[in-house]
């Protein structure tokens, strides 16, 4: 079934015209030897958090990579503030788009602050050295991710979860218009998971950027994302607000396991639970 419901955005063009700035992913496709990403589109306005969800191998990371401007789609385009991301020079793109994924641990240790400082690289231009403004943004990023107390520690000496926050801080230090995170909550405990996504949403609104994440955590996405894009085997089956996308029949089929969707009484958001046979 190929069901794309886009009730919130009747036509992407009117939306862009009304708001003026946003992320527009338009009919992007990709082709691997054994996998195909079918034409996928979605729109995300400034200040919102969108989540790409779906089973393993559904093409989530591929889609994220295409949205970042790094992977050239076979067809289609990605527009950020009206600019075609795939036709920007890498440095220009790096000033606007921050992409953070699972990273291998480093063999060379940096202090956390130095690690986060690498995020300013796209803005250094011809100069070999950071300016006071660069330093300010580094401190800001450390504060936002609550890493100021760990800033002098070596990156190899902090926990996996703290390292992930450092990666987020580095991405924030880029001051991008588009923040893309692949499984940002993978190693975090539930407190930090919620903390990070809530922070991301807050910052997206306060600092005027768009955040798009790929996540396995359906309930986290339900609670904290404004918009969901559900992929399965390279096709976008459904997109929209959590209520519309998280339907028990659809999810049970996609994830090949019986699930029920009810409501979280405290937040009013949908809640996905596994149904014992």
């Amino acid at each position: 079934m190929n069901l794309i419901s886009d009730t919130r955005h009747p036509t992407p063009d009117t939306y862009v015209r009304e708001t003026g700035v946003c992320l527009r992913v338009e009919d992007v496709t990709y082709h691997y030897p054994h996998f195909e990403l079918a034409a996928t589109s979605f729109v995300a306005p400034v200040g919102e958090l969108a989540a790409i969800i779906g089973p393993n191998g559904s093409g989530k990371s591929t889609l994220l990579e295409i949205v970042s401007g790094h992977l050239k789609p076979r067809s289609g385009a990605v527009w950020l503030d009206g600019l075609d991301l795939h036709h920007l020079p890498p440095r220009e793109r790096a000033r606007r788009v921050g992409l953070a994924r699972q990273e291998a641990p480093l063999l060379f240790s940096f202090e956390v602050r130095d690690f986060v400082r690498q995020g300013r690289h796209p803005h250094l231009g011809r100069s070999l050295f950071e300016s006071p403004e660069d330093e300010r943004w580094v401190e800001w990023a450390l504060e936002m991710t609550q890493l100021t107390s760990l800033a002098d520690r070596r990156v190899t000496e902090i926990s996996g979860g703290e390292f992930q926050r450092a990666v987020l801080a580095r991405t924030l230090a880029q001051r991008p218009r588009l923040v893309l995170l692949d499984e940002p909550t993978a190693n975090l405990d539930i407190g930090y998971q919620i903390e990070m996504l809530r922070l991301l949403r807050q910052l997206a609104a306060a600092e005027n950027f768009v955040a798009v994440i790929v996540t396995h955590e359906l309930n986290l996405a339900a609670e904290l994302a404004d918009y969901l894009v559900l992929l399965d085997a390279g096709r976008c089956l459904c997109q929209g607000e959590p209520e519309q996308v998280l339907q028990s029949e659809l999810l049970s089929r996609v994830f090949r396991t019986p699930v029920a969707v009810d409501r979280n009484p405290s937040s009013g958001r949908p809640r996905v639970t596994w149904v014992a046979p």
Binding site: E103, L107, F108, H121, L124, E130, V138
Partner: protein
């Protein structure tokens, strides 16, 4: 709080190390088979010494050799630092890409041929280094750009193969020639001409300065190729440039003085222990540190069993191995 590296930090550091280098240089001029006092060294440099031998020793024998040690030390240390960043591998050294084997093979073939070709062995060695660089570059490319993984493999395989060829050629040489080559293979600073210094100085200086322009790119490259690309680094261009510059530095150093070991591996790590991983301070530290360390090693090589000489590569190996072990223990603990 760790502040970002500033221009002032780099200048202060460089000046301090240059001062250290001058002190070591003066000491090296004074020590040797014949020990001179500092006064005699100074007079010897200016040509106003009471005994003309002092002047000869200082200006014609020791000074060129010490300058060679400084240039080769700097070249190898900087090359090692750059390759460790390029390959994201703390065990990389200037020879991991097979360049020293190529140069050695060139030198050995030149010596085997004998005559005028043998006299031009540094040139032939450099040609060997260039050819090996080109070969490893072509072999190490993947999807049109250098990948650190394939580059290391290409280098190791090439070095291995060339070592086998070297052994083969060695069996064809007479014992007298073999002794000469052994000295060269371990590193030998005793043979240096003015012409060599005149070429070496600008090449090494420009090579190091050119690499310094990539200092911040090297920092970001340490995060990973993908991560660096996402931060706006033109990874293909930086990798190619750094590879070529490091190969050039290694090539000229090895062509003139043989394959001095351990320097290109250890000096970068010693530098990291002092100034950290930021290449804006690490590169000058490695350059001047390498110059200092090799000058010291060479002085030891000249004085320990005077009037005979140890090959300087033996000194760096004997001194280097314990230092390496110490670094390993420190890293593990």
């Amino acid at each position: 709080m760790t502040l970002a590296v500033t221009r002032r930090d780099v200048l202060t550091l460089t000046l301090a190390l240059v001062a250290g280098l001058l002190v070591v240089g003066l000491g090296a001029l004074a020590l040797g088979g014949v020990h001179l006092s500092l006064g005699e060294v100074w007079a010897g440099l200016r040509g106003t010494a009471a005994q003309p031998e002092a002047s000869t020793i200082v200006r014609e024998i020791r000074l060129p050799r010490i300058l060679l040690a400084m240039l080769v030390g700097a070249a190898l240390a900087v090359s090692g630092t750059a390759l460790q960043a390029l390959l994201r591998n703390p065990l990389a050294d200037p020879y991991v890409l097979g360049i020293s084997s190529g140069a050695a093979l060139g030198a050995i073939i030149a010596l085997y041929v004998g005559g005028r070709v043998a006299a031009a062995s540094p040139l032939v060695a450099f040609a060997g280094a260039l050819l090996t660089t080109a070969w490893v570059y072509l072999l190490g490319r993947r999807a049109g750009r250098l990948a650190s993984y394939t580059l290391v493999l290409a280098g190791v395989i090439t070095a291995s193969f060339l070592s086998a060829v070297i052994l083969f050629v060695l069996t064809l040489l007479s014992t007298r020639d073999v002794r000469g080559i052994a000295f060269w293979l371990m590193g030998d600073l005793s043979v240096v001409t003015d012409m060599q210094l005149r070429i070496l100085l600008p090449v090494v200086a420009l090579g190091i300065l050119a690499l310094y322009a990539f200092a911040k790119d090297l920092n970001v490259l340490l995060l990973g190729e993908e991560e660096a690309a996402h931060l706006g680094v033109n990874v293909a261009r930086v990798q190619t440039a750094v590879f070529l510059l490091a190969s050039l530095l290694t090539g000229v150093a090895v062509s003139v003085s043989g394959a001095i070991g351990y320097l290109g591996l250890l000096v970068p790590h010693l530098g990291r222990m002092v100034v950290g991983n930021d290449h804006r301070t690490l590169l000058p530290t490695a350059a001047l540190g390498g110059a200092i360390v090799l000058t010291l090693s060479d002085t030891l090589a000249r004085t320990v069993v005077a009037p005979a000489e140890l090959p300087v590569g033996a000194v760096t190996a004997v001194a280097g191995a314990p230092v390496f072990i110490y670094l390993l223990r420190r890293a593990a603990g």
